[in-house]
């Protein structure tokens, strides 16, 4: 600044003045008059004439500095604007000193002034450029955040295991980038009120919002807000929520105490801006997503509305589909549970474990079934089977197969007869469905030895992994059940001793598409690895499950997988 002043001095572009308190007259030289845009010798020397030339916005600042300097008898510096008679605005720099008489009384001021408009312009330009750059950067950032959010939306939706989780994921992903709050309302078909998920970056605030939602029940007839958006299917966009608009909204509430409470809540929320977008599917409007700007003070604009619309478009179908899937899963799960034994019997000397993995979507009743039951004091039956097809017909076949096997086994039928009974029962039904199964028994021979006898009807053969790791499949493939009037089966038999492991499984083999090669050899290798070193059937089943998941991830499955594992315990165990 001083350099600049020196420059101005050197260039001779400096005006000077002297103010005499006693006379009230200010004397300007011609150079100073020029700096104020006046013709030579036209300044009348009054304080008023000077003040009138100052830029209105700078008057108070200039007067304050001058008065303080006079009071403190100190020199001063000032930068201020003047308005020339032609209307143009110039920036001046002035440096003043207070003059004193011999007794130290203030007699006036004296000083020089120069024009700094050019420098000021540069400074202002630079500031504007920085501000512009910051604005552009902020917009870019917002834009990027929005794109990232949209990218993340698919992940949020896909990774959800049920519709509530989907709502939670999406709302959670939206804050705080798209709004301080995000709420998703979903009205399932036939429901009386909406399901709501609210998110805020601060979990405590989320809890608070949930409490509020409980306290003020959803009013589907409300004239504005989410219910109105869901009713009309129209977007509601409130760019700026003013105190007046809050009052207008509260004026409609008749209960004054309630109105007071609402006012304090709204004020505490500091809501500034709102966007509510309907969630629309082929069925119609199924809910709404609401973005709320609050303590951040950000005002939503048309870009935000467009983004809200995009988000709503992306999640509406996904939300409804996930919900439908949930409903089917509940039904399927209930049915499936009815078709599988509630618990396994405890068998002295044997460790038994079962696993059941429903196919990827888990939306239908799978066709796999298993059963373990007691025939008499020495013998136990093990059944595993797979009905081709899913849904209620498959469930019926499963039930027929399981109960026919139980009936045949406890009536003393031989192994091949048991499967023949099932074949007859299914074939008579003529359901255009078939079933594969193995029927096996374990008979206690002595403290350490069990006789395993098995027969397969179109089903993968049981695998025995001996204590030393040697694998064997038991029996031979036989005809599947329910298609042909007569079946061909071959019964196999083996003696099992402590440390041996028996593995019965459903597919993977018939219904698994390459490259997931779960061919019989791979299955046997997996079985050997799982059995090695395992001390209980549960260990083996867990390891088998992990190995199968690696080869064939659950989402890629088209069919259920069921496992029954039996491990022969040491007599002391």
């Amino acid at each position: 600044m001083h350099d600049h002043f020196a420059l101005a001095l050197a260039a001779g572009q400096l005006g000077t003045w002297r103010w005499d308190i006693a006379t009230g007259v200010t004397t300007w030289d011609v150079a100073l008059e020029q700096l104020f845009g006046l013709e030579p010798e036209t300044f009348d020397g009054t304080m008023d004439a000077w003040v009138a030339l100052l830029h209105p916005d700078d008057v108070s600042h200039v007067m304050e500095v001058v008065q303080r300097a006079t009071a403190e008898r100190s020199p001063y510096e000032l930068e201020h604007r003047v308005v020339w008679p032609d209307g143009s605005v110039r920036w001046l720099y002035c440096r003043g000193m207070v003059t004193l008489d011999d007794d130290g009384n203030v007699t006036g001021t004296i000083g020089c002034t120069g024009d700094i408009t050019a420098r000021k312009q540069l400074e202002l330009d630079a500031e504007r450029r920085i501000a512009d750059a910051e604005r552009v950067a902020a917009r870019e950032r917002l834009h990027r955040e929005r794109l990232e959010f949209l990218d993340g939306l698919n992940d949020s939706a896909l990774s959800a295991t049920d519709h509530r989780e989907l709502m939670r994921n999406v709302a959670g992903a939206a804050v705080p980038q798209l709004g301080d709050w995000c709420a998703i309302y979903f009205l399932p078909e036939g429901a009386t009120g909406p399901e709501v998920e609210v998110a805020h970056a601060d979990p405590d605030k989320t809890v608070w919002a949930e409490e509020l939602l409980h306290r003020y029940p959803y009013d589907s007839d409300a004239p504005r807000g989410v219910p109105a958006v869901i009713r009309t299917g129209q977007i509601e966009f409130v760019p700026l929520i003013s105190p007046e608009s809050i009052e207008r909204a509260i004026a409609g509430v008749e209960d004054r105490a309630l109105a007071e409470e609402l006012r304090s809540i709204v004020n505490a929320l500091q809501v500034t801006s709102l966007i509510t977008v309907p969630l629309r599917t082929k069925r119609g409007v199924i809910g709404a997503i609401r973005f709320v700007s609050a303590e951040s003070g950000r005002q939503f604009d048309d870009d935000d509305v467009a983004l809200g619309r995009t988000v709503a478009g992306r999640i509406a179908e996904a939300l409804e589909n996930t919900w439908l899937t949930d409903q089917q899963r509940v039904i399927a799960g209930t049915l499936q549970a009815a078709l599988l034994p509630p618990r396994l019997p405890d068998i002295d000397g044997l460790s038994v474990a079962v696993r059941y993995w429903a196919a990827g979507t888990a939306t239908e009743v799978g066709g796999d079934f298993y059963d373990v039951f007691k025939i008499d004091e020495r013998r136990w039956a093990i059944v595993i089977g797979d009905v081709c097809g899913t849904g209620s017909n498959a469930a019926a076949v499963t039930a027929i197969a399981r109960h026919t096997i139980r009936a045949a086994a406890t009536h003393g039928a031989h192994h091949h007869e048991v499967l023949a009974w099932v074949n007859d029962a299914l074939h008579a039904g003529n359901r255009d469905l078939f079933c594969t199964a193995t029927y096996s028994t374990l008979e206690r021979v002595d403290d350490e030895t069990w006789r395993f006898i098995s027969v397969a009807g179109g089903h993968p053969l049981p695998i025995v992994v001996a204590a030393d790791g040697t694998p064997t499949t038991i029996g031979r493939p036989g005809t599947l059940l329910g298609v042909l009037p007569d079946i061909q089966t071959t019964t196999g038999e083996v003696l099992l001793r402590p440390g041996d492991t028996l593995i019965l499984h459903t597919d993977g083999v018939t219904d698994v598409r390459p490259p997931y090669e779960l061919d019989p050899e791979t299955v046997i290798n997996i079985a050997i690895e799982a059995a090695a070193g395992s001390r209980t059937a549960d260990d083996v089943a867990t390891r088998l499950g992990q190995a199968v998941h690696r080869v064939l991830p659950i989402p890629d499955r088209h069919d259920d997988v069921a496992l029954v594992v039996v491990h022969i315990l040491q007599p002391s165990e």
Binding site: G389, T479, R513
Partner: protein, 108 residues
């Protein structure tokens, strides 16, 4: 997977259906419909030979389709060549013999 098969006229009374790729749940029902249409039409062909030598994958739905056709049309539906994938499934399910023509074709 889109249905991928092709008809060929072998003799006046025999059509050949060559199936390629996957014979699975996505194809099974349409596959049965296609054969139904041909066999239900008036006039030739009297029989259909299904060639499965180029099938990469067959699942239980594919097997069901074959069993259903065999059930509905008996010897009018024959299975010709089979790929390793098909053979594995037919063997496991004990249905390989069932599909073998075994010289029982009355039209030979």
């Amino acid at each position: 997977m889109t249905p991928n098969w092709e008809w060929q006229q072998r003799t006046e009374t025999s059509s050949v259906l060559i199936v390629r790729g996957d014979l699975d749940v996505a194809v099974g029902v349409v596959f049965v419909d296609a054969v139904d249409k041909v066999l239900a039409a008036d006039g030739p062909p009297a029989e259909v030979v299904i060639e499965l030598g180029e099938v990469d994958f067959i699942d239980s739905s594919g097997l069901r389709a074959l069993l259903q056709l065999r059930h509905n049309y008996g010897e009018r539906v024959q299975v010709g060549a089979i790929s390793a994938a098909v053979e594995r499934l037919l063997e496991l399910t004990g249905t390989l013999e069932h599909f073998r023509p075994g010289g029982t074709n009355p039209h030979d």
